[in-house]
């Protein structure tokens, strides 16, 4: 069955420290994966997608088909990165979200 797992509900790091938010997926086809972010009192918004292989706000994510993972990384966390992060798997006519990880960056 198609599934997205984010093993950490909460993640706390200090400003300037590296951060990695984990995402594992289960899908037999060719996955299209996204990271969405929700800042306090704002709507859910796209952070990045694996196809574009871009870096947004210093975040990157690499699709590892062997490990079925799509972890989100940033070398130096900033306080404004504090938010809820969701990993999502897109399929034809369906989209699966993980339960989310709340990232807190402490000063």
């Amino acid at each position: 069955a198609q599934r997205v797992t984010q093993p950490e509900k909460l993640l706390s790091v200090f400003k300037g420290a590296p951060v990695e938010l984990k995402c594992n997926y289960s899908y037999s086809g060719s996955p299209e994966l996204f990271w969405y972010v929700q800042y306090s009192r704002q709507r859910l918004q796209l952070l990045l997608r694996h196809i574009s292989r871009e870096s947004i706000k210093g975040f990157t994510a690499d699709l590892n088909k062997g490990e079925t993972s799509f972890h989100l990384k940033k070398p130096f966390a900033q306080e404004e990165d504090s938010a809820m992060y969701y990993c999502a798997l897109s399929m034809i006519g369906d989209m699966r979200f993980g339960a989310g990880t709340r990232l807190t960056v402490k000063p």
Binding site: V4, Q6, E32, F34, Y36, R43, L44, Q45, L46, R49, Y86, A88, S90, M91, I92, G93, D94, M95, R96, F97, G98, A99, G100
Partner: protein
């Protein structure tokens, strides 16, 4: 463009009632998807519509239905409301083409069933 808009923002209903939620996509977007987000969980896919046709349906009972209008706006209907239907209902639209493209979310409608 104001982005995806949803109405109403909040709604209180009692068990057994029916509710209709509305969504207007970003101008030019032809695909609309609906999600239910219960507190502490990620969004759960309910429906996807493209060009007024249903393209996908999540694991929700038949009490949930939706439709898309010629102007690409959409309605989500929930009949015979249960306490467990209390959630944030999100609408998302995506650019011309299939729904696999990145989706843009509305602010949601918070439904409370008493």
């Amino acid at each position: 463009d104001a982005g995806v808009t949803q109405s109403p923002t909040h709604l209180i209903k009692t068990r057994g009632q029916q509710v209709t939620l509305r969504c207007s996509p970003i101008s030019g977007h032809k695909s609309v998807s609906w999600y239910q987000q219960v507190l502490g969980q990620g969004p759960q896919f309910i429906f996807q519509y493209y060009e007024k046709e249903e393209r996908g349906r999540g694991n929700f009972p038949d009490r949930f239905s939706a439709r898309q209008f010629p102007n690409y706006s959409s309605e989500l209907n929930v009949n015979a409301l249960l306490l467990g239907d209390s959630a944030l209902y999100l609408c998302a639209s995506s650019s011309p083409g299939t729904g696999e493209k990145p989706q843009y979310f509305g602010p949601g409608t918070r439904l409370l069933v008493l």
